[in-house]
Symmetry: C2
Subunit: 343 residues, 2 copies
C-alpha cells in the first residue's frame, strides 16, 4: 500500500482500563510513527465505553485520564496528534442520531462484529440499545473527522464496511461526495496473545502487561509465560509455534536475525526457557521503562493532561461541527445551531 | 386533577405537514390557554420527523417554518411560550445517546406505541434504527426540559411510562432525584375524526381541514362530511353517534345548549343535514379565519418567524445544556464541554 501522506487518520480507545503491551504492539507504536506524516486524531471513546458500562460511569471517567496519560507516555505529541474526548464533541452525538435513520435495525443486527460481541458478552435480548447502535456511532466518529484511514484489527473491518455503506447512501442523497470513504489500516503485527497463551491480552483475563508495569511486574509476567509444555529439559527440542516467548520476541526484539538463530537453536534442543525469558525480560524492561517513567512524571501534573485533552477537544470540536453543518445543510435540513448560521 | 401552576410543560409537533383542526382541538387550543400559567416549551421535533422521513429531509425543513407559523397564528405568544427546534439543541442528541445505554433493545421493541406504529407503517424488519430508538429520544426531550407535564394523546402514554422508567433508573444511579417524573396530560377532548368519519384526521388521508383553509375550503370539507347514511330525508329520524357533523359541533360550537337541542331535534326527525352543516361551516369559518389571516400576515415576514425560532432555541439551549451537564456529572462522567466546566 503506498503511503497516503497527510491523510486523515482517526484512531482511539475505549477508556475501560489502562492500555497494555497488546495495544502498544497493535496500534500505539504505529501511531507514534504515523503522527509525523498524517493528520491524526486520537479519540478517547468514553460514550462508546458506556455502551456496555452504563452501570459504572466512574470507571470510564477514571480511565479517560489513564488513557490520555498512556498516549503522552508512549510519545504521542499533542503538537502533531489531536487527543480528544468523544463525549465532549456534541456533533458526534448529533451525527449518530441522524445516521440511525439511514440504517435499519436488521442491518445493525447482521453486523458480524456486533453479533460476535453480543455472543461474547452474553447480552442476549437484553443488549443495551446503545450497544446495538454503536456502528452508527463509529460511522459518525469516522465521518465527522472525514477520516480516510482507520487503523483497526481485522475483526473490526465490518464496522468500516458499514460506515462506507452509510457514506455512499448519504453522499448519494446529498448529491456529491461530501464524505470520504474510509480505508481500514490493518496493523502490520497481529494481535499479541496474553502471557497465558490465550488469543487476546486483556486486563479482565489477568494476562496483560500494562504500560505502567514495574521491572518486577515484567519479570513476573514473563516467568508465567506459556512456552512449550513438551520442552521439559533444556536439551529437549522445543516448539517455536504457539510459544508465547517467541511471539513476544518477534514483536519486540530489535534484532530479528538473533531471534531467527534462537528459534533454530530452540528447535534443535539445548536452549532453555530460562535463557530465552531472561532475554525477553530485558527487552520488555527496556521498552516499558521509559514509558513508565514518563507516565509517572506526567501523572504528577494531572492539570497538564486535562489541558492537553481540552485543547485537542476544542480543535476537534471545530472540525466535527463543520462536518455536521455540511451534512445537515447538504441533506437540506434546517440548521439553526449558531446565530451566524444561515436559515 | 388540580392545576400544577407554573409547572414545566413540554409539547410540540413533528414538522411533517401543516397543522390542522385535529391538532387545534387536541392540543393547540389548550396550549394557548396553558401558556399563561405554565412554563411551556414547544419543540418542533425535526429529528424525530426524520426517523421515518430520512429520504425527504426537504419536506421536514419546509414544515419547520409552517409549524412555527401555525403556532404564532393560533396565538402562541413567544413572550410566554418558548418555541424551539429539536435539531438545534445538541444536548437532546447527547442525552438520547446516553439514555440508549440504559434501555435494552427488547424493552424498546415491547413499547406498545412503537409496536403499533411499526405495524401501521409496514416497516417490518426494515425499521430504521432511529425509529426504534425514538422513545429514548423523547425521554431525552422530556427530561432535558425537566418537564413535569406532557400533553399527549392516550395512545402515547406508553412513551411517558418508558421515560419515567429511565428517570427512575438514572435518579437511582445518580443518587438523588435530579430528573422529575413526567405526567401525561391527556387532552379534555379526544381525537377529532377526519371529515370522512375515519378515526384520525390526517393530511395523507386527505380528510383534514388545515389551519390555512379558506372559507371555500371549509365549506367544501363540511359538505363532504360523513353524517348518518340512514338519514335520507330531513323528516327521517337521524343518528347523532358517529355523525361527524355533531362531533365537530361538540368540539367547536360555543353554545353547548344549542347543540343539545339540535341533537334532540335530529333524533326526532325534521332537521336536515344541510341546516346543520350550514351552522358548522359558519362556526369553523369564524374559528379559522382569524388564524388564517394572522398566518398570511406572518408568512410575509419569514425573517420574523426565524427570529422567533432562533430566540426560543437559544433559550432552550441554555436549559437543555444545563440538564445535560447535571446528568453527566451526576453519573460521574467527565464533562469537558466548555472551557469553564470543571474537569
Amino acid at each position: 500500500m503506498p503511503p497516503l501522506s497527510h491523510a486523515v487518520i482517526l484512531t482511539g480507545d475505549r477508556p475501560t482500563g489502562p492500555l497494555h503491551l497488546g495495544h502498544y504492539v497493535g496500534s500505539l507504536r504505529n501511531r507514534v510513527a504515523l503522527q509525523h506524516s498524517h493528520d491524526q486524531y486520537l479519540l478517547i471513546a468514553d460514550m462508546q465505553a458506556l455502551t456496555d458500562n452504563a452501570g459504572d460511569p466512574g470507571k470510564v471517567r477514571r480511565n479517560v485520564i489513564e488513557v490520555a496519560l498512556d498516549y503522552l507516555a508512549i510519545g504521542i505529541d499533542p503538537a502533531c496528534s489531536t487527543i480528544c474526548l468523544q463525549s465532549a464533541l456534541p456533533a458526534l452525538a448529533e451525527l449518530t442520531l441522524l445516521y440511525l435513520n439511514f440504517v435499519s435495525v436488521a442491518r445493525l443486527e447482521r453486523n458480524p462484529t456486533i453479533r460476535e460481541e453480543i455472543a461474547t458478552r452474553g447480552f442476549g435480548r437484553d443488549i443495551p440499545a446503545g450497544f446495538l447502535c454503536y456502528p452508527a456511532s463509529q460511522a459518525a466518529d469516522i465521518t465527522a473527522f472525514k477520516a480516510e484511514l482507520v487503523p483497526v484489527g481485522a475483526d473490526q473491518a465490518p464496522i468500516i464496511e458499514q460506515t462506507n455503506e452509510l457514506v455512499r447512501r448519504l453522499n448519494r442523497q446529498i448529491g456529491h461526495p461530501l464524505l470520504p470513504e474510509a480505508r481500514a489500516l490493518i496493523p502490520p503485527i497481529g494481535r499479541l496473545p496474553g502471557v497465558d497463551g490465550k488469543a487476546k491480552m486483556s486486563k479482565s483475563q489477568d494476562n496483560a502487561i500494562p504500560l505502567s508495569a514495574s521491572d518486577a511486574d515484567i519479570a513476573a509476567a514473563v516467568q508465567r509465560m506459556f512456552t512449550d509444555p513438551g520442552h521439559v529439559r533444556a536439551t529437549d527440542p522445543g516448539r517455536v509455534e504457539g510459544n508465547v516467548v517467541f511471539t513476544y520476541l518477534d514483536a519486540f526484539d530489535p534484532d530479528p536475525d538473533a531471534v531467527a538463530a534462537l528459534k533454530a537453536h530452540y528447535r534443535r534442543g539445548g536452549l532453555g526457557d530460562a535463557a530465552l525469558k531472561e532475554r525477553l525480560v530485558a527487552i520488555l524492561q527496556t521498552t516499558i521503562s521509559p514509558i513508565r517513567e514518563r507516565r509517572a512524571t506526567l501523572a504528577k501534573d494531572p492539570d497538564f493532561v486535562v489541558d492537553v485533552l481540552r485543547a485537542g477537544t476544542a480543535r476537534a470540536r471545530g472540525r466535527t461541527e463543520r462536518t455536521r453543518r455540511e451534512v445537515t445543510t447538504g441533506l437540506g435540513l434546517f440548521d439553526l445551531h449558531s446565530p451566524a448560521s444561515s436559515a
